[in-house]
């Protein structure tokens, strides 16, 4: 994170991004250490930008290492090679984005805009090669929201079919990722990557910083990342997720922690959303089945459950019985 107001690009919020206050920049020496560490250890670096133009001395440091930039919409003119983050509530500004069929885009879709998902997608067609939709406000989603989301994915699927028929090759994470995966591919925050805050402290991901969670370590110029993430962030220690085949699911450990108080246990909302996406992917793939390259992709099985927790209940009813018999419950 280059500044305190780094753009929130996923399920979390960063109030500093929306503030008009002057940013707190990352220390130059700290950034130099991170850049050097990334170079020497061939670590893939991603830099999160805010709304402010990066001071020249920091910008020069970034130039010395291969990296990915994630920027807010109003900074994508300055950084044309970056991944812009669009907020669904700023849809009126999407017109400013120039066509670019090779660009990666992130659309942060607020729960209140769920019913506009397909409309927003239509407005962005031609401006991306890959669109990553991240829902914001999952924790408050109810059955109506989920039904709305399923309807919107259906509409986007219809548009995608037409675009594929016209020869376009675009990806939408919530619809096409599952088709191309053969195993779980989650966010893996804390297990495969960590976030360095502008003050050098390390977090599982930026969401943990803004939610007031403790740091999991600190970056040290001499020893690199002195980090000790919670052991339960790894996939192998997620008892529900290891039974699930919604392989595209973010498996967001921050939402897990926030909604169930456990890093490795997802909330019902997360599972239902992932399975709505999985089902939409299954139906789309079935309809695209006879065309290349979808012809070569393995079919996605139809499921008789919407939440892997139901699968656990089906496979291990004795667990529930024993729980019901527990005199303490």
């Amino acid at each position: 994170m280059l500044e305190s107001g780094a753009v929130p690009f996923c399920h979390y919020e960063n109030p500093h991004f929306h503030s008009g206050a002057a940013p707190r920049w990352i220390d130059e020496r700290l950034l130099r250490g991170i850049v050097r560490f990334a170079e020497e250890n061939a670590v893939a670096a991603t830099f999160l930008f805010g709304r402010h133009r990066l001071p020249a001395k920091l910008a020069r440091l970034l130039d010395s290492v291969s990296h990915t930039k994630i920027v807010p919409l109003d900074m994508c003119e300055i950084h044309p090679d970056a991944i812009p983050v669009l907020f669904s509530e700023d849809a009126a500004l999407f017109g400013a984005l120039k066509p670019n069929p090779a660009r990666n885009l992130i659309l942060r879709l607020a729960r209140s805009d769920l019913s506009r998902c397909a409309e927003l997608f239509d407005a962005l067609v031609g401006k991306f090669g890959r669109l990553s939709v991240h829902l914001f406000g999952i924790e408050e989603c109810d059955d109506d929201d989920l039904a709305r989301y399923a309807d919107e994915l259906e509409k986007i699927s219809k548009t995608l079919k037409k675009l594929y028929a016209a020869g376009q090759k675009i990806e939408v994470n919530v619809l096409t990722d599952r088709m191309m995966l053969k195993r779980m591919r989650n966010c893996d925050a804390g297990a495969k990557h960590v976030t360095v805050a502008p003050d050098g402290k390390l977090y599982v991901c930026p969401a943990f910083l803004y939610d007031g969670e403790s740091a999991i370590g600190a970056f040290d110029g001499k020893i690199g990342f002195a980090v000790k993430p919670p052991s339960t962030v790894v996939f192998s220690r997620a008892p529900i997720c290891t039974r699930c085949d919604a392989w595209h699911c973010k498996r967001c450990v921050w939402l897990n922690r926030k909604l169930t108080l456990e890093y490795n246990i997802p909330s019902q909302q997360q599972c239902l959303i992932a399975h709505i996406e999985r089902e939409a992917s299954r139906r789309l793939l079935k309809e695209l089945g006879q065309t290349e390259p979808f012809l070569r992709m393995p079919r996605i099985a139809e499921l008789n459950y919407r939440d892997p927790m139901e699968l656990v209940e089906m496979q291990m009813p004795e667990l529930l019985h024993s729980a019901a018999d527990d005199p303490m419950l």
Binding site: Y12, E13, P15, H16, F17, H18, S19, G20, A21, A22, E89, A110, S112, G137, E139, E140, Y210, D211, G212
Partner: protein
């Protein structure tokens, strides 16, 4: 001495000068929403006690509710001061901040509100 703007978590009236100055996290929104609802509930309780002429019979309860109302107001003011400082929200003389509980957005309602604020404070 710099005057702290008053805070009212209300909807913005039409035609008033208002601008977005920031946002809070849903967790922070929950904190102020809980205080706002508590304050409303306590205010209603005080009114009920006053209207029903129950003050004579419920003097101890009345004192407790009023004391709680005071504590809740102080906590609410402290929340706004703390967040405004942390996130550097803009301030104007005579203005006040409002929060949209749905979107977590903070708005600064400016001079167009001066008369209304004074009326509200007089209440």
């Amino acid at each position: 001495m710099k005057k702290t703007p008053s805070r009212k978590p209300t909807q913005k009236p039409k035609g008033a000068a208002s601008r977005a100055v920031g946002r809070v996290t849903p967790k922070e929104r929950d904190e102020i929403q809980a205080l706002f609802e508590r304050k409303n509930g306590l205010t209603e309780l005080v009114q009920m006690l006053q209207q029903n002429g129950g003050l004579d019979n419920n003097a101890a309860l009345y004192e407790k509710v009023v004391a709680d109302l005071g504590r809740t107001s102080v906590r609410s003011q402290a929340w706004w001061s703390e967040k405004a400082k942390a996130y550097g929200w803009k301030v104007v003389a005579g203005g006040h901040w409002t929060i949209n509980f749905e979107t977590c957005e903070i708005r600064l309602d400016g001079k167009a509100y001066r008369h209304e604020i004074q009326s509200a404070q007089a209440d």
